[in-house]
Symmetry: C2
Subunit: 244 residues, 2 copies
């Protein structure tokens, strides 16, 4: 099966959580909007999203084509791919749990995004910088600790041990937690440094994922887009400085 | 199977999407935090959420106990309940699609919530009223139309007809769309009145759900908590007035 991933070129964004799963599994996939040629590029992605085609049209990227299926929503794409890529245990309860954790990652990502866009998704950051400072201050003092401590406690209580978050092997949730830690370190380096000891298990999980051969090769490749100020995780020093 | 729903008493909130499915199916369930007695009430809910118990602890309500399973995240609870309550078609593609739509409802609900809490979840509305006005103006002019027009177009393109959003029968997604329309009419009555013609199919779907015998009985009962200014959908006239 050759998968087709559709996501904005130029940013990691929400698409990166899917890319990490496909890369870790060594799956055969095309990153459609980053390619050129017929049926490729952003125009091809916009074509799928065009209404009136009679198909099941996604609300927003990322989405994945898998044969006749077209699946949107990051967490759902991962729920679908997990069993096919060997990135989730077999038991139903473990699969529900993995999806539940991934949906909590989704909520966290939305809150991270809104630190730099608290007023209007469709306007520039500099137009809402003052509100972004307030939101970031609250996020760094209340929300970031709450989410990270939650994932730390889930790791500590995993019956399969603290190496991975669900069961005894790596799942797509672990790959997403790697991305969260990497992204938060990029966006809020001082905060993450200051809190490093509290999140030793998450930091170890981050390193364990980064060392997986296919992930290490991916991160060193040009396929990994660098973090930048168009994505979810943005480094605006003035936002973090507001609370230090 | 007797289900146990855990959610904050006193508000509809995200728990209401689950309540509507349980009520429509005539399921046997307990709304745990709204009851009194041993193992009931908010204290029982907080007990489940206490970390260190070795169990799979949810990040936040609502969550559902179904036998040995404890499932959180509204959309996941509905994905789990759907087949068991006869509220989703059998085909895999239709089930993926229903969950995808429900996750889009989830995103919409988060944006609706943030109109009155754009800066800090943990602070009062009146402490962030100015920012709420800006966010609501953007929400009502950009985001609300985008989401509602999306769901209208999905309804128009459903191969099973425009009566329901997936296939030929009511699904849990239809119940959630009813709740969205009802909640938005409560929170932003002028906007919804002005846009009524554009959303004729969604309005008809709302009425069709409201007329389902078990839903009608539920809405008329004391089990249906009235909309209020502690929930997701809040009527603050000053926010809507900011844009009229």
């Amino acid at each position: 099966m050759r998968y087709e991933l559709y996501y904005w070129p130029g940013i990691q964004g929400r698409g990166e959580f899917v890319r990490l799963a496909l890369e870790d599994a060594g799956a055969d996939y095309v990153d459609v909007a980053r390619e050129t040629g017929p049926g490729r590029g952003v125009a091809a992605m916009m074509g799928v999203m065009k209404r009136g085609s009679g198909a099941r049209v996604p609300f927003a990227p990322p989405f994945l084509k898998a044969g006749a299926l077209c699946i949107a929503q990051t967490a759902l794409i991962l729920q679908y791919l997990g069993p096919r890529l060997g990135l989730v245990p077999k038991a139903e309860a473990a699969r529900l749990w993995a999806h539940q954790l991934q949906l909590t990652v989704t909520d966290f990502v939305a809150e991270i995004h809104d630190t730099h866009h608290p007023v209007a998704l469709g306007r520039y950051y500099h137009e809402q910088k003052r509100e972004a400072k307030s939101r970031t201050a609250h996020f760094l003092s209340e929300r970031l600790p709450k989410y990270l401590e939650y994932f730390e406690s889930v790791l500590a209580q995993n019956a399969g041990g603290r190496r991975w978050i669900v069961g005894r092997s790596a799942t797509y949730v672990d790959l997403s937690l790697f991305q969260l830690v990497a992204g938060l370190r990029y966006a809020f380096p001082e905060t993450m440094k200051r809190r490093r000891r509290r999140h030793a298990a998450l930091a170890a999980l981050h390193d364990r994922v980064a060392d997986r051969p296919r992930i290490a090769a991916y991160l060193a490749s040009e396929r990994r887009i660098p973090f930048n100020e168009d994505g979810v995780f943005r480094h605006y020093p003035e936002l973090e400085r507001g609370v230090s």
